[in-house]
């Protein structure tokens, strides 16, 4: 009996970090998150953007660096959308009203969606706010960036341009 209990406890401890093993990281396929438009039922799936380079940015209304990042994301969308870059801002606020108030103060020209049950953030294993993921045309995560600093963002933009130039979609 004792042995069974000890075995069970060991199993719990051993398999606990399993979710981490399946977490999104560089070189893995991006999770196909189910996302909704803020305030309405229009559904998005990340798979629908396959064939495009996707810039997934996780943000919240209470996060200061996220507010700074919006002008950069707008710029990125304006300059690179015609070359096939899809910028998606995934909101992780608990209340949609907070997100709407934020968007009124910081208008976004790119696609903004909500991750109502935070499943997408869990699948991507988001470690900081904001977190950015660059997904290539084949749906593989190629670069991850935590936080927002203008100089680093410029380097990240260069990586996005590099992915756009690759243009090698697997059939």
């Amino acid at each position: 009996m004792t042995q069974r209990i000890v075995t069970f406890l060991c199993a719990v401890l051993a398999f606990g970090p399993l979710q981490m093993a399946f977490a999104a990281e560089v070189g893995r396929e991006a999770p196909n998150c189910a996302l909704n438009a803020i305030g309405d039922a229009k559904a998005y799936g990340l798979k629908q953007f396959k064939g495009q380079v996707v810039f997934v940015d996780f943000w919240s209304s209470w996060c200061g660096p996220c507010a700074q990042s919006f002008s950069f994301l707008n710029e990125l969308h304006r300059d690179l959308k015609d070359r096939g870059l899809q910028v998606i801002g995934v909101n992780l606020d608990e209340a949609a009203e907070d997100a709407k108030a934020f968007l009124a103060a910081h208008p976004a020209n790119f696609t903004v969606v909500a991750d109502a049950n935070q499943q997408c953030a869990k699948d991507f294993d988001v470690k900081a706010m904001p977190s950015s993921y660059l997904v290539d045309r084949n749906g593989v995560i190629r670069h991850v960036h935590l936080g927002f600093r203008l100089e680093e963002a410029k380097a990240f933009r260069a990586l996005a341009e590099q992915l756009l130039a690759e243009n090698t979609e697997r059939k």
Binding site: D98, K127, A128
Partner: protein
């Protein structure tokens, strides 16, 4: 005289594990996107960084010593 029965080492271990496993769910980490309340200004460990910087500057010049006046950490964990 009758001696009180002591618990056997095995049952003691089982009880200890049971208590520890009941306590384990309390050890949960707060996900980065759940730190909205921690990010509020009144949750900051240092509510007025400018004022405390001025005070520590004054203190340093008066007492010929500095530091030890505040703790680091806390907040939203934003990068």
């Amino acid at each position: 005289m009758k001696r009180a029965r002591l618990a056997t080492p095995a049952s003691f271990t089982v009880t200890l594990f049971a208590i520890l496993s009941v306590c384990l769910p309390a050890c949960t980490s707060v996900a980065p996107w759940e730190r909205g309340n921690l990010a509020k200004p009144h949750m900051a460990l240092n509510p007025s960084p400018m004022q405390s910087a001025l005070r520590s500057h004054q203190y340093g010049s008066r007492e010929a010593s500095s530091g030890g006046g505040a703790a680091g950490g806390g907040g939203c964990g934003c990068y």
